[in-house]
Symmetry: C5
Subunit: 265 residues, 5 copies
């Protein structure tokens, strides 16, 4: 019985929210933004204020349709992903990952989001930016290793997301390029066995915030992800992390409609 009501409610929410977006949107070239170098990735996390949950459902649905409108409109120009942190992370409730070629455009999206009826219930928990770069293979790295690195992770849904911000220590940057490359090769080899079940993406953050790197992970097997991090903690390069996490963001990958449905309940 309880389930039938929930199913009906889900239907109502999706219909109401679906009605709003009538114009056809031409999506940004999401694949390019997510794979090419020279793209800015922004991780903006938000908490819902105490008033959010105290509103009646009709009001919440009205505000969520605004959220959908804002996201859809900006998706014409950039790639926007949403994640549910609530329940798994004490840092924030929602996480947006935005890929754009100019941070000004990302700023305009976040301004529109925060200025919207829905955004008035959001409190900014954190904003981090990084730039994607071409993989900088270590000179002398065996071709077999390079080939293995290019094998994509197994297809299929990867419901968990983990974002770990990293700050290197001053010693790291004073090492020679060769010393850093040697350590990175050790790091890469330690990570290799987990490439199939844990998808990774790296962002270079130096100067854009108080970080040097943002590491992004998706997996359906958190146990493998934990083994990967344990393996990375044992290589020399790890000793040059002044900050690793703090916060570690853990959440679940959701479509915008799933987020809206969850928040409408």
């Amino acid at each position: 019985m309880r389930l039938s009501i929930m199913t009906f409610m889900r239907f109502v929410v999706l219909v109401l929210v679906g009605l709003v977006v009538v114009q056809a949107v031409e999506a940004a070239d999401r694949d390019k933004l997510l794979s090419e170098p020279g793209v800015y990735g922004t991780f903006a996390s938000f908490s819902l204020d105490a008033d959010w949950g105290k509103q009646n459902q009709a009001l919440r649905i009205a505000q969520l349709t605004v959220l959908k409108g804002v996201v859809e409109q900006h998706r014409e120009k950039m790639a926007i992903d949403v994640y549910l942190l609530r329940g798994l992370s004490d840092h924030a409730d929602l996480l947006f990952r935005v890929h754009a070629t100019e941070l000004r455009e990302t700023q305009q999206f976040l301004l529109d989001l925060q200025g919207s009826l829905f955004g008035k219930h959001l409190t900014t928990a954190g904003v981090m930016h990084g730039l994607t770069k071409k993989a900088n293979y270590v000179p002398g790295m065996p071709d077999s290793l390079k080939a293995e690195l290019k094998i994509p992770s197994d297809p299929g849904s990867k419901p968990y997301v983990i974002v770990i911000p990293i700050r290197k220590d001053a010693d790291w940057w004073s090492l020679s390029q060769e010393q850093r490359a040697a350590m990175m090769q050790e790091h890469t080899e330690a990570a290799l066995p987990y490439g199939k079940t844990v998808k990774r993406k790296l962002y270079h953050a130096t100067g854009l915030d108080d970080l040097d790197f943002i590491t992004y992970f998706e997996t359906s097997r958190l146990e493998d992800f934990q083994s990967l991090i344990l393996a990375l903690e044992k290589v020399k390069e790890f000793r040059h992390n002044r900050r690793f996490g703090h916060p570690t963001l853990l959440g679940t990958v959701k479509s915008l409609d799933e987020i809206i449905e969850t928040l409408a309940q």
Copy 2:
């Protein structure tokens, strides 16, 4: 006189709250979840907001019945323990320990909890996750020591709970497996005399949050627990803790009905 009124009130609360849960629930296999490896343990602590205590008792009881409903429903799939931190810890008022085979299910429970009428009065104080693993006995550990470790703690109620999050330093992870094992044997031997009166459980947290371990203790003798921690602080392994506590959570073990009764007063 005062006591009789309290006894009556207790009766009223329990009857009211008891009425709500009419359907029979089939509990998750709690024993398995609490003893097997590969289970995720989540420690979610919450503070009650300032409005909670300002509501009249009827309203509070209505909201507590919702709490009971949410917990009972999810107990079909996972093991949920509740603890009262208020008065003993300045970090939070309530602690939930959830054991589940998938963190997605734990997230759904916490979403339902926070989205409920009762949950609107909760502010998240902290969320920590760890994974249970098979005891990794040190190679060459004497069989007598292994046998002693398997003796369960004395039966009987253990009213106090302590949760201590731990983060190891980078040096720890760069030690060889043998070096870490030798230190852990010294650690284990130091802890042994307290096994009868202090129950322990270990969770591996690396990567899931900003910790490496979560250690959970139950005892009826806080003096013994203090002696245990003092003994552990004297072994070499302790020098590799970058974080030990911060916060240390101290509270009392309660049934859901006892928590409800306390909060209804």
Copy 3:
């Protein structure tokens, strides 16, 4: 003129508050709790919320009578001291020091306090616990020193209270018992000249919170207290404090009636 009005007000407050407590209470054996080992000392500090001062005086007096009732009732089982921090410490407004043989009883007192009409205006600033232990004289400590240590501080009112939480570093605990004892003898000798004007009490906190010790001082001569701390900072043992203060709590010793009178103004 102003003074006469204040005197009258004081009279009114005391009469009103005094009326409430009609039943005779049999106090816990306060002397035993304050002098024996194996007793738990809890330091709970609270801030008054912004609404407190905005209420009219009649309402405040009504709430303060509740405070008096809650404290008197629990004094049957435990020793409860109150201190005024406001104006001297930015950490909190009020400090309760509770001595009990079981922390569960302390928790019940603090639950009743926070659940009372007065308690709804309290925000918890900090809770620290420690256990009293038998003085652990250094082996080989001269009998003359032991004798001097047993001389109680000068009688007479000591209006100032200072509470300093301490956390030792990992090196401290890895020293041998003899090394620690030698350092403690040096510490003790440095403190000796101030024994007459500065009363001290030590609580062992390891494991119960993020501290190793809580040191409690009472004095009428803050200059002597400052000289005592300066003397202690110069001995070797001081170098093993990872945390000393943070916060240092400074306030004045008050009777419950004095606190009530101050807050009623």
Copy 4:
């Protein structure tokens, strides 16, 4: 359609706000303030409170006209720049950079700003002060390097602003003047390739706040800015930064009218 409405709105806002400032203002000699030594630069960042966005637009426009009035009035005496941080920095929403010959005048501006109808919605996020000084060329620095340093950055709009506060360690200050100069020459040479696309300005903060330097950057090419910071992290001088960022402020350069227009939406 949406764009036409926004264009109209923009027009309305600018007309309304424009009407207010009727008196002709004689601007402070902005060029001198921005180029000469002995000028105090203040960086004051603010967050908008939750009520700001909940007001209707008419009210917001009325308050923004007050903002315009306050800034224009003080621009008679000092140089005031505004930046939009919201969306790019989690530290604050707005940043004011004020150049004045006396900090008392800057204080008066900020008092008037915070005391205004608009200012009641501002929460101070941070205030930092620095003093501009004559470039202190390293003795023996080649004239060619000095000449290159004097080449101004490429003209044209530089939409991005980055402000990085810096605190040196105690070792830095205990080095001899020659040692510091040698390290600064290495720093200067590393920065040189980025002089065309990244504009820099340095403020000496020691004693005026908890910093030693405030570094200000403008660029249209964030990638170049990131390369500049990476180059600076690799020179020896970087090892003497006890604090670098925390917070790093990232935003966009805006005219006062553009800020008003954005906030009026």
Copy 5:
């Protein structure tokens, strides 16, 4: 025109506030309190709450007359100075410096202040205490240096105030008295050139809060003050500061009437 209104307003405020204090007060011997050893100096900083500015001016003036009354009354017993931090420091809006022979009296003043109608709008930002001591000249310090130290700073108004809290490291206290004295002589000589334009006063804080010293500066030339701090950062003693500032308080010296006038606007 604007100025005439402000002048009139200023007149109104001063008349209204002036009327309140009819009784003649006999001021505490301010000169003695500010120059003698054995006096407690308290630095209490406060922020004004968001409601303060939202009240109409009549209400604010009424509350400011209460502030004047409370300060005047306590000035019979102690020396009370007020400073405006708002706009120059992000730590707080107002700073009170109180000199008294007993901290109990300072506490009573701050209790009366916070309990007053004006005080209900104050949030405590920080409270620090220190004790004045006789200058402890280094044995063997040349008489010429001692003489120079006794020359008072140039007369004339010094509008800027800076307060820097200091905590020494454990190494400092474990040095011999001679070693510390030698370092202090170097410190004193470095400071000497700035004695004419920067007035200094030292408070010993050990044990009264989490500091060892509070250093207080007044100047009309912030550039000289900055040079003084740079000179002090270069002597060996500076390496023994575990904390220097955090917060550094920067503000302007104001009479009580000037503060009232500013807050009444």
